[in-house]
């Protein structure tokens, strides 16, 4: 199951991190060690065990449909790296919407 630098590069692309070649080379063996040691979960995770996603079992917690105050527009954009006309400005987008 050894992770190659190429595979790490693919994962980095999926995670939108522009890792350098040195980082890829350094990271791949570290990730291998980690993955090898965590893979033992499969030893006990048999088909009859139900997975748990939430630590405390709870259901049906809902909010009432009522309008609450939004942020003042100036505060919405105050921390934006770039904005224009009350909207967030971002560089040109290559990919299609999903």
């Amino acid at each position: 199951m050894a992770l190659s630098p190429d595979e790490v590069a693919r994962l980095a692309q999926l995670a939108r991190i522009d890792l350098s070649a040195e980082e890829l080379a350094h990271l791949a063996p570290q990730l291998d060690v980690i993955l090898e040691s965590v893979a033992r979960v499969a030893d006990v995770a048999t088909a009859d065990v139900t997975p748990t996603s939430h630590p405390v079992p709870m259901t049906n917690v809902f909010r009432t449909d009522a309008v609450a105050e939004s942020l003042p527009p100036a505060e919405v954009l105050a921390m934006a790296p770039d904005h224009e006309d009350g909207r967030f400005r971002v560089p040109r987008i290559l990919g299609e919407e999903q």
Binding site: L14, R16, S53, H54, M58, T59, N60, V61, F62, R63, T64, D65, A66, V67, A68, E69, S70, L71, P73, V76, L77, E84, D85, G86, R87, F88, R89, V90, P91, R92, I93, G95, E96, E97, Q98
Partner: protein, 498 residues
């Protein structure tokens, strides 16, 4: 560059089309799916945003119970089973209109699944569309692409984002593969989406306006040679923004794919974009480029386990199936197909029904709403229900006509008065002095005057040419400023000249 197309007839001769439709319905809740920001359409950019819907660090979602309720009602109306236990999930992919870079959605545990919707085609045939699932998710923000020649994504220099829409609740309804549609596939696609619109409107859960994006449709189309079991490779057409376009896009994809296949080519699994201005689809993204969404259960929200009591309570609130209701009302009202279509097209079904319930005869109710009041709504560019006259008032006007207090022409003035806020129809009649004059003395004087002013016409009538009376009636009506019963005027003229 346009793709080659096969003629529709040749395409259908060789291949059977298989459809799959994904409809997104934006719910009309007051607040968003996971925060208290207003979900209303059309506010100034980013004024309906907060830490939650901007995805600020540390913020957490709090799910809107009304949205869950609407999803369950929608599922029930689509004849679905409602999950006894389900979770929200995260669909992970990066896109700048999505503040958290994941969409809170549902994955393998939709709230509603395994349903169907019966739709009525133009010739009255009923076609059953099987529903795979209906699940809850949140909408994304709105991008505006700047600097490019066309205002589209491609060629733009940069983009601007308004997150007002981010977090508005959505329901996605996914059909099972629709087989057996044959040459009617485009019509079935359109009729299905229209039926969803009617159903959502009847449920009152969405504004379902395609032009505002509260109803959106992606159409999957594949072809297979007739008789073959295995489905062909499909394409998914996005950005379809009108009912007409659904039909056109499906038809186009059938013709385009047929041309590829009959030329010995293969269909690539991909998304296609519907280009409204040229009526074609264009290549979007291949399956290979598709994201690995890395779904997992949303840890910030607890599971949803609708009790069976709650589900049954909600089932009891369901309105009648719009198609069945239409058929029932047409029969009760004895309308022809054309008359019924007029009512439906004018969006007047509810209004006519309420007017009849207020005591008005069905044909009269139809006439007022589809003609006089529809004309006013169209001129003002507003909905028929916003025209300013209630069904009860329409029934009252019609009652005044039937009592002979006013005639149809005066009724229009009564509507003017009601709309102008002058009161109920009877008050308008009194205040404007619109009642028909039925006092024979006053009418007699007016007739005498008209005879004196038109001796030649009077002579013709005396000579037996009764049809000439029309000219005298016109003169009397003019004298009476329209406030006379034309039938009674005619009788008096004939009496005086006999």
């Amino acid at each position: 560059m346009s793709d080659p197309l096969l003629s529709y007839e040749d395409a259908l001769a060789a291949y059977e089309p298989v459809l799959g439709l994904e409809v997104h319905v934006e719910l009309n809740t007051e607040s968003k799916m996971f925060c208290g920001c207003s979900a209303e359409f059309g506010a100034a950019p980013n004024t309906h945003t907060c830490p939650v819907c901007l995805g600020l660090p540390g913020s957490m979602p709090a799910i809107n119970g009304k949205a869950v309720e609407s999803a369950i009602r929608m599922g029930l109306a689509l004849n679905c089973s409602i999950a006894e236990w389900c979770r929200m999930s995260r669909k992970n992919y990066f896109y700048p209109d999505m503040p958290k870079d994941y969409q809170t959605s549902q994955y393998d545990e939709p709230i509603a699944y395994d349903g169907y919707l019966d739709i009525e085609l133009s010739d009255g045939e009923v076609f059953r569309v099987e529903i795979e699932r209906a699940h809850m998710e949140e909408d994304a923000g709105k991008l505006t692409h700047m600097g490019g020649a066309t205002g589209r994504l491609h060629g733009a220099d940069y983009s601007l984002i308004d997150y007002n829409r981010a977090g508005v609740p959505l329901i996605e309804i996914v059909t099972k593969p629709i087989l057996g549609a044959g040459e009617r596939a485009p019509e079935i696609a359109r009729t299905y989406v229209e039926a969803i619109r009617d159903l959502m409107r009847a449920l009152g859960v969405s504004d379902v306006r395609m032009n505002e994006g509260s109803l959106r449709c992606d159409a999957n189309v594949s072809l297979k040679p007739w008789g073959r079991e295995r489905l062909g490779t499909r394409t998914e057409t996005k950005n379809i923004n009108s009912f007409r376009s659904i039909e056109s896009a499906v038809r186009y994809e059938i013709q385009r794919q047929a041309a590829v296949l009959s030329g010995g080519g293969t269909i690539q699994q991909c998304t296609r974009n519907w280009l409204e201005h040229i009526g074609e689809t264009s290549f979007g993204r291949s399956k290979e480029e598709a994201e690995d969404y890395r779904y997992f259960p949303e840890p910030d929200l607890v599971p949803i386990a609708p009790s069976r009591e709650w589900v049954e309570e909600l089932r009891a609130t369901l309105p009648e199936n719009p198609g069945l209701r239409r058929n029932r009302l047409q029969e009760v009202w004895s309308f022809s197909d054309a008359e019924m279509r007029d009512v439906v097209n004018a969006d007047a079904l509810d209004l006519v029904e309420a007017t009849v319930a207020a005591g008005c005869a069905a044909p009269a109710a139809r006439k007022w709403w589809t003609a006089e009041l529809s004309r006013r709504a169209n001129e003002a560019g507003i909905g028929l229900d916003e025209v300013g006259v209630t069904p009860v008032q329409v029934a009252a006007v019609q009652a005044l006509v039937e009592a002979g207090t006013i005639n149809d022409k005066l009724a229009r003035q009564v509507f003017d008065g009601v709309i102008a806020g002058e009161g109920e129809p009877a008050e308008v009649v009194t205040r404007r002095g619109l009642a028909v004059v039925s006092d024979d003395g006053a009418l007699g004087d007016a007739v005498q005057k008209a005879i004196a002013a038109n001796p030649d016409v009077a002579d013709k009538i005396r000579a037996g040419r009764v049809q000439a009376a029309g000219a005298l009636i016109g003169a009397v009506m003019k004298e009476m400023r329209g406030q006379a019963d034309a039938g009674r005027v005619r009788e008096i003229i004939l009496e005086q000249l006999s």
